[in-house]
């Protein structure tokens, strides 16, 4: 057991070590930084794979998790609250080890790819340092079993993404994008933290499993947020935690940062989209799923569904490769979140893993193409042409065969066509969603249609992208002639990731994911612990077992049964919708060669096209409302600062000056006056007395006589009683 802990901690520590070594020796390492980072990540990957093998091999502990914890901070007993302590704890279960393999695997390949992609960059070493830090933060996030550490790692992930998106910080675009990503995430972080504190305030522990156990015992009446009932409070807590995931996993309405994050280097986009940043939100939802009440589940599912439709409709009209891929990520994340909301957590998590492989492959493939385009443009001193615009490409498969083949495989995977891992996970999501929609009814009935619609759209826009990039005739022959395949350092990761997108790793039968090893043996939907009355309403018709404390709750059993029914049908439905999208793209973009900017030229559809191209005007709307409001507020505050605060300071300064003037006048005329007067008096007296000293003896004598007479008179008047005076 200790062996697993040690393995996990070493795998966690290696990327951190890489970060520390590289960041403090940037100048010395220079262009050799990868010599430290890449081996560190390779070791970390090997350890993660070994750990996963130990945990997942047949006959090992199965689904039993391994947990280790130690008291980290003891704050003693707080009056009115009880003992406060924070534990540092590690949880290694199947989800953790799978996430570790995904994170270190993608990160390792991104490291490898970056050696070629980032060659000659001014901050090569800093780039590799932060890649390692990003990986470390994400590993810490998946390893921690308590919300406190998870939150810390969550923030580190946010920081690392900020540093990497803003890698080229001399340019205004990346600067803005990094800040936008960070600030948008802050909103989610605030909600996540509120949710964590809400749970901690009641249950006095950050440990998720302890919280689940306490909730399963029944909610205490004191569990109340702003006077809500305990059940509502549990919903609120679930939704606050979900708020964190909304920002990290780019769900509507906080998805706006992800497309802008494309300003970062392309391998970083691959890392963010596949393994580290956006996976954190889905991972968190999979972890806290047992706490989600029926209402919270509905909100989560609807948010995911709406996001996936929104992003898919935007992706269909974009012309920048990376923006298409970014919106496709948002859309796929929406599907995962929808699946988790619909109770199909294992399917959502499955999609997270398969998505990591093919999305990393797509991004690195796009990076490979952009790299080649850049090189050509650089040779020709052409700064006007956009290297990322698909309108400048076409037919690239002849020049970049390896990139093209891996890109096509990944596109097959994301569009849910057979023999691909993506198809299996998507089918599971669709089956789970269909089951949920059928049971829950109401607004949830729309979710399956959303799922199939998004599958169709995904196939359409991904094949549009592929056709316009790699097939057909080159649109810029001058560029096309000089395009060359990327070096092996960059194509090897593509091939590995394309291979990882195949079905074989997750199940033997490509059409039956349910009985495959991933879903059958590795990951199970966790049992919920919510009070029965807060479960989804369809559970009321089902006979409640007398002891609901362990095992899946009745509504989960119902969902699972329904999903199993749907699994056979949804495969064919998903295949059909995926094929429709594929054929649509084939017809429109390959056979009809609708190139222009890749859409139908029908004037009636033009407003729609604009609407999609401008991403539903959401950014514009935010610009006018949220950003505008913030700017207005800050302008008002700045004015208040200038006019009132500065004014008060200035007024007090002026008052001081005036007082000083008055004091100076007082000084000059009163204090100095007294001194001068004393001097003048003495001088005057001196003058007078000097005049007495005439040198004439007779004058002196006269004074003597006068004085004696005067003294005599005075003494006579004093000494004699009044009666004798007169």
């Amino acid at each position: 057991m200790d062996q697993m802990l040690l393995l996990a901690l070493v795998a966690l520590g290696l990327p951190l070590l890489s970060f520390v070594l590289v960041i403090f020796n940037q100048r010395a390492l220079g262009a050799r930084a990868h010599l430290i980072s890449v081996p560190a990540l390779a070791f970390s990957l090997v350890l993660s794979i070994y750990l996963a093998w130990l945990k997942l091999r047949p006959g090992s502990m199965g689904l039993r998790p391994f947990e280790w914890s130690a008291d980290w901070i003891r704050l003693g007993t707080v009056p009115g609250f009880g003992p406060v302590r924070v534990t540092a704890s590690v949880l290694i279960d199947n989800i953790t080890v799978i996430m570790m393999v995904v994170v270190t695997g993608v990160s390792f390949l991104v490291h490898l790819f970056s050696i070629g992609y980032m060659r000659g960059d001014t901050r090569y070493a800093r780039y590799f340092a932060f890649l390692g830090f990003f990986t470390f933060a994400m590993l810490a996030l998946v390893l921690s079993s308590n919300l406190f550490l998870l939150y810390g790692a969550w923030e580190l992930v946010g920081f690392a993404s900020w540093a990497l998106i803003g890698h080229w910080y001399e340019r205004p675009g990346p600067q803005r994008a990094a800040t936008k990503a960070f600030i948008t995430n802050r909103i989610g972080d605030a909600m996540l933290f509120t949710g964590i504190l809400l749970l901690f305030g009641q249950f006095h522990t950050f440990n998720l499993r302890e919280i689940f156990a306490l909730v399963a015992q029944g909610l205490p009446i004191t569990f109340s947020f702003l006077g809500c009932s305990p059940e509502t409070t549990l919903t609120i807590a679930g939704l606050l935690l979900f708020g964190g995931a909304v920002a990290k996993s780019a769900q509507f309405p906080l998805h706006v940062w992800l497309p802008d994050a494309m300003e970062g280097p392309t391998p970083v986009s691959a890392l963010i989209h596949a393994a580290t940043m956006v996976a954190a939100g889905v991972y968190l939802m999979a972890r806290i799923f047992p706490l989600l009440t029926g209402n919270a589940m509905l909100v989560v599912a609807c948010t995911g569904a709406f996001t996936s439709v929104l992003a898919a409709t935007i992706a269909i009209s974009q012309t920048d490769i990376k923006r298409v891929l970014a919106y496709s990520t948002v859309s796929q994340l929406g599907l995962m979140i929808m699946a988790i909301g619909a109770g199909a957590v294992s399917a959502g998590f499955f999609h997270l893993v398969t998505h990591a492989a093919f999305k990393a492959c797509l991004f690195l493939g796009a990076g490979s193409v952009i790299h080649a385009m850049h090189r050509v443009l650089h040779e020709r001193d052409d700064t006007a042409t956009d290297a990322q615009d698909i309108c400048n490409m076409g037919g690239l498969r002849k020049k970049m065969p390896i990139t093209a083949v891996s890109f096509v495989i990944a596109t097959l995977a994301i569009s849910g066509l057979p023999l691909m891992a993506g198809m299996m996970s998507k089918d599971e999501i669709l089956a789970g969603t269909a089951a949920y929609g059928q049971l829950q009814r109401g607004i949830a009935s729309a979710l399956p249609f959303v799922g199939f619609g998004v599958t169709l759209l995904t196939a359409a826009y991904m094949w549009r992208l592929t056709f316009l990039m790699f097939f057909g005739k080159p649109s810029r022959l001058d560029l096309f002639e000089r395009i060359k395949e990327s070096p092996r350092m960059m194509t090897v990761p593509l091939v590995v990731l394309a291979a990882a997108s195949l079905w074989i790793w997750f199940a033997i039968n490509p059409l039956q994911a349910e009985s495959g090893r991933f879903l059958a043996n590795w990951v199970k939907t966790p049992s919920q612990v919510i009070p029965p009355q807060t479960a989804p309403s369809f559970a009321f018709g089902i006979l409640l077992p007398s002891t609901p404390s362990s095992g899946p709750m009745p509504h989960q059993l119902a969902l699972a049964a329904k999903a199993h029914e749907w699994a056979g049908r949804s495969v064919w439905l998903a295949l059909a919708s995926g094929a429709c999208g594929f054929l649509f793209a084939l017809w429109l973009y390959l056979l009809k060669r609708s190139r222009s900017i890749g859409t139908l030229r029908i004037s009636a559809l033009d407003p729609l096209r604009q609407f999609s191209l401008r991403a539903w005007y959401i950014d514009v709307a935010y610009e006018y409302t949220v950003v505008g409001a913030v700017l207005l507020t800050s302008r008002i505050i700045s004015w208040a600062d200038d006019a009132i605060v500065d004014g008060a300071v200035n007024a007090s300064a002026r008052a001081t000056v005036v007082t000083a003037r008055i004091l100076s006048l007082f000084d000059r005329f009163v204090v100095d006056g007294i001194v001068t007067l004393a001097g003048a008096t003495v001088q005057f007296l001196g003058l007078m007395i000097r005049s007495l000293q005439s040198g004439r003896i007779q004058t002196y004598l006269a004074w003597v006589v006068a004085s004696v007479i005067a003294i005599f008179v005075v003494m006579w008047m004093i000494a004699l009683p009044p009666s004798m005076l007169f």
Partner: protein, 103 residues
């Protein structure tokens, strides 16, 4: 006819004293000033003798008067010597012109 008593002597002495003072203040001649001093001393002598005659049982007053006369003789000698020296230095014995004490 009023019998002569102590008040008469005292008045005489006061008149003499005032006359002496007056002489000292008004005369310019240093010799005349010395004479004023003699007048004052003799006014004092009259007082001594008169008080002894009408009050005291011993002869202290008379003795003081004789003592004052002796002192006055010495004083006159010294003062005349000063006047001589003054004349030798400044060719004058006018007290208004001898104002060197002013310096």
């Amino acid at each position: 006819m009023i019998p002569v008593g102590l008040p008469h002597f005292l008045v005489l002495s006061a008149v003499l004293f005032v006359l002496g003072i007056f002489t000292m203040l008004t005369r310019k001649n240093a010799i005349a000033v010395l004479m004023g001093i003699e007048l004052i001393l003799n006014a004092a002598n009259i007082n001594f003798v008169a008080f002894t005659r009408y009050g005291a049982v011993n002869f202290g007053g008379q003795m003081a008067a004789i003592f004052v006369i002796v002192i006055a003789a010495c004083e006159a000698a010294v003062a005349l010597a000063i006047v001589l020296n003054l004349y030798r230095r400044s060719q004058t014995i006018s007290v208004t012109e001898a104002n060197k004490l002013h310096d």
